[in-house]
Symmetry: C2
Subunit: 200 residues, 2 copies
């Protein structure tokens, strides 16, 4: 096995220049359209037109609409992810699980409140889209680790994340439940679910 072959195996061929250019053009166009007209303005056709590319290009770059919107949100979400992995406690490592979980949900709800429409779009663009998003998998792992001493951390983590589904919270807001009340409800459930010995 020669070096060349090894190299090929190692490096996934890097993105062509035009592809990279179009990726950012599309993202910028999407950002612009959303800023002007909200989620209603975010149709794939409109984004493609605004970006000056064909519609096929958008789908090749981002897979589907959900992928496009997730990419738009990527930056913000990445910051939260880094804070969880490298940041100070209680969000970052060091604090006891229940407190880390609470800190996470608190931070995530802030993020959700700031971007509810986009997150909802990315989660409901197609059935099951929510679970395919990279960030979901990441949060799921994080929570499962925090629940490691519970009977089924894997299932429990899914249940916990269910509380911050964009669709659910859109509904709660529509029913006049404010973010403060949602925060309190989530916090209380987190306490009871994450910490086996908790009972206030």
């Amino acid at each position: 096995m020669n070096d060349e072959l090894l190299q090929v195996l190692r490096r996934p061929p890097r993105e062509r220049a035009d592809a990279a250019r179009n990726r950012s053009r599309v993202l910028e166009a999407a950002g612009r359209l959303f800023a002007e007209g909200g989620v209603a303005a975010l149709t794939v056709d409109a984004v493609a037109r605004e970006a000056g590319v064909g519609k096929g290009t958008v789908f090749r770059r981002f897979g589907d609409k959900s992928g496009l919107v997730s990419a738009l949100l990527d930056q913000r979400e990445r910051e939260l992810q880094e804070a969880v992995v490298f940041g100070a406690p209680p969000l970052g490592p060091g604090a006891p699980p229940r407190e880390r979980a609470r800190a996470f949900f608190d931070a995530y709800l802030t993020y959700l409140a700031d971007h509810l429409d986009l997150v909802r779009l990315s989660e409901t663009a197609s059935p099951g889209a929510r679970f395919r998003i990279g960030a979901y998998v990441f949060w799921h792992r994080h929570l499962a680790l925090l629940c490691a001493d519970r009977p089924d951390p894997d299932h429990l983590a899914h249940v916990l994340l269910g509380m911050v589904a964009a669709d659910l919270n859109t509904e709660l807001l529509a029913q006049d439940m404010g973010w403060d009340r949602i925060r309190a409800g989530v916090a209380s459930a987190v306490d009871r679910l994450v910490d086996p010995s908790y009972s206030p």
Copy 2:
């Protein structure tokens, strides 16, 4: 205010004969198509064609696709609802809240396992459809009553129902989590969330 006016106020004008006939024709057609080809065969156009009615008729009768599928599920779900309201404990009235809640989730998971595809279709046909379905509202009230002594029964009931969202459970099955494991996870969460004094 005369009698006639009172009567008009009281009785919502009953369904016209042709309307009723078409309602059942459409439901039968939908049932047939689903039996033959599963959810993939359940397009509104196909249902309308099979029923021998226009597409507009389907939408007038059922509102949207989600409504049509909910109507298909109605029978089964009604049985469960009756068991909850009039049946024997622990599903029906009489047992302590935690046990009623457990019995409900157990029964609902059976129902879900039997009709997962259809329930998923009805819940994800459009964003937020889940919360607009009559049954959702019913279950929500039931659970909120069972949690009456918790700080925020309304929010908590939504969280509990999140655990049996068809979309989530489809994903769990796809990840090789079986119904037995799902049942256990749900039961454990119900215990901890519904009963303030529970800690096994």
